[in-house]
């Protein structure tokens, strides 16, 4: 019963949290997509660090990286409504000039994370080589989108 209570309250809190996110997302899509991309960056930092051997590999961490990428790849494209090309954003005007091209890049991102998620399984990739094999294609999609749809750097 105690466990059920905890599950229910966790669900409630999560639900409230999500409602809050939805409100914020509608109000400020730029801040929302930047928060999503910074979670991608943080996950890439952890994943890349493990791939380079700077951080010890751990399947739980590997799974977390892949799950973060997966969630971002599904959600990210929703936060580019018309008019959100203004203000403090690194998004290029091409996102709105060529929505099909942008959608194709997002599709590549989510296709790569879908495969990585499948490879990750219940316990995460068993070792760093399995992790590299799963994450390599995901990392490959970063620059193909940034080449055109993010202001240069």
């Amino acid at each position: 019963m105690r466990i059920l209570g905890r599950v229910v309250s966790t669900a409630l809190i999560t639900g409230l949290g999500l409602a809050g996110v939805a409100a914020q997302a509608a109000e400020d899509p730029v801040a929302t997509r930047q928060a999503i991309m910074s979670s991608v960056g943080a996950a890439a930092g952890l994943g890349g660090g493990m791939m380079k051997g700077e951080i010890d590999y751990n399947p739980v961490a590997g799974k977390s990286v892949i799950a973060t990428m997966r969630a971002a790849s599904i959600a990210y494209g929703d936060y580019f409504p018309a008019g959100s090309d203004q203000g403090e954003t690194d998004a290029t005007a091409k996102i709105w000039e060529d929505p099909d091209g942008f959608a194709a890049e997002l599709a590549k991102f989510s296709a790569a994370t879908e495969k990585a998620t499948a490879a990750s399984g219940k316990d995460g990739p068993a070792d760093v080589d399995a992790f590299k094999a799963a994450m390599g294609p995901v990392f490959g999609t970063c620059k193909s989108c940034h080449e055109t749809y993010r202001k240069k750097n």
Partner: protein, 309 residues
């Protein structure tokens, strides 16, 4: 800015009228021509990637083997007008297939065409002028081995007075100088001179990094005192970053970080390369690791340029 540019160019045109000789396109000397020799195509391929030829002369969005089809056509939209990259494939009629090695060297190091016209510095001969005869000979051999692409690219779209090529002879007198930009390493630590020299050659010569990473003055010449200190993007929006070892900026990248970025396209924070730098990074990834290390060693030992204003 635009007005001032126009005034300057009108002045340049007047000067060209009174001193026509000063604007004559220059060429390599007879002595230099005599020592040039066609080299090794295989070595030339590395020079080709180091020089980034395909980034402008292959079709937009080209990848893999399509990068070797140099039909031109890419449009560079700049404050001076639109430059269209020409066909430099081995086609005799539409590309450079009929060029001699001397023609090629004149184009690469003097910005002068076989018929004695000035090229616009959108073609970065101001950097290529620093290339060795050996690399030019190898590159020439490699370019001859590439596929012929039929069809000339469109003309540049430039208004008066920028459409007057002759006036560029004066521009070249001011800004075309094959001397090294940074004379010697600037660093508190120890620097391996041979590695740094190789890095300098790649960055200042074929890699032509300064063409985008250094700001330009009102006449379009590089401000060498702010070498690699970042600049407004020459095409499109955004800013090309400062890649000098400046505190609070690029200085926080280690040499290994720089080399890894050039190899993989990822920054130390695991942000990815973007924009036109994607082409550059993919070219650099084709070079031997020792060359990427040399570029990193050079970039760690040049004067730091603080952001302006």
């Amino acid at each position: 800015m635009k007005k001032a540019l126009i005034v300057l160019f009108v002045l340049a045109v007047v000067a060209a009228g009174t001193a026509w000789g000063l604007s004559a396109p220059t060429q390599i000397s007879a002595q230099e021509a005599a020592t040039l020799k066609e080299g090794d195509a295989e070595k030339g391929e590395l020079v080709f990637w180091a020089g980034g030829c395909a980034s402008c002369h292959a079709a937009k969005g080209a990848k893999r083997e399509d990068l070797l089809k140099l039909g031109g056509g890419l449009r560079l939209e700049t404050p001076f007008g639109v430059f269209v990259a020409p066909n430099i494939s081995s086609s005799e009629t539409d590309g450079i297939g009929s060029w001699s090695l001397v023609d090629f060297a004149n184009a690469m190091t003097h910005g002068t065409s076989p018929s004695g016209e000035n090229y616009y510095p959108a073609f970065p001969y101001t950097s290529y002028a620093r290339m060795t005869e050996g690399d030019l000979g190898d590159l020439y051999a490699f370019m001859k081995s590439l596929p012929k692409v039929e069809g000339k690219a469109a003309d540049h779209e430039l208004g008066f007075p920028f459409n007057m090529r002759r006036g560029l002879g004066l521009w070249k007198r001011l800004f075309l100088d094959p001397a090294p930009v940074i004379a010697s390493p600037v660093s508190d630590g120890e620097v391996d001179q041979a590695i740094w020299d190789r890095g300098r050659y790649l960055v200042e010569g074929p890699g032509h990094c300064g063409e985008c990473h250094t700001e330009r003055d009102i006449a379009g010449g590089l401000v060498l005192s702010r070498w690699l200190g970042g600049a407004p993007a020459p095409t499109g929006d955004g800013r090309i970053p400062d890649i000098t070892p400046v505190e609070g900026g690029f200085g926080s990248w280690s040499a290994a970080d720089i080399a890894y970025y050039l190899e993989s396209g990822f920054t130390p924070d695991y942000d990815s390369v973007g924009g036109e730098m994607v082409h550059v990074q993919e070219n650099m990834a084709r070079l031997p690791a020792s060359d990427r290390d040399a570029i990193a060693a050079y970039l760690k030992a040049i004067p730091a340029i603080a952001p302006s204003n």
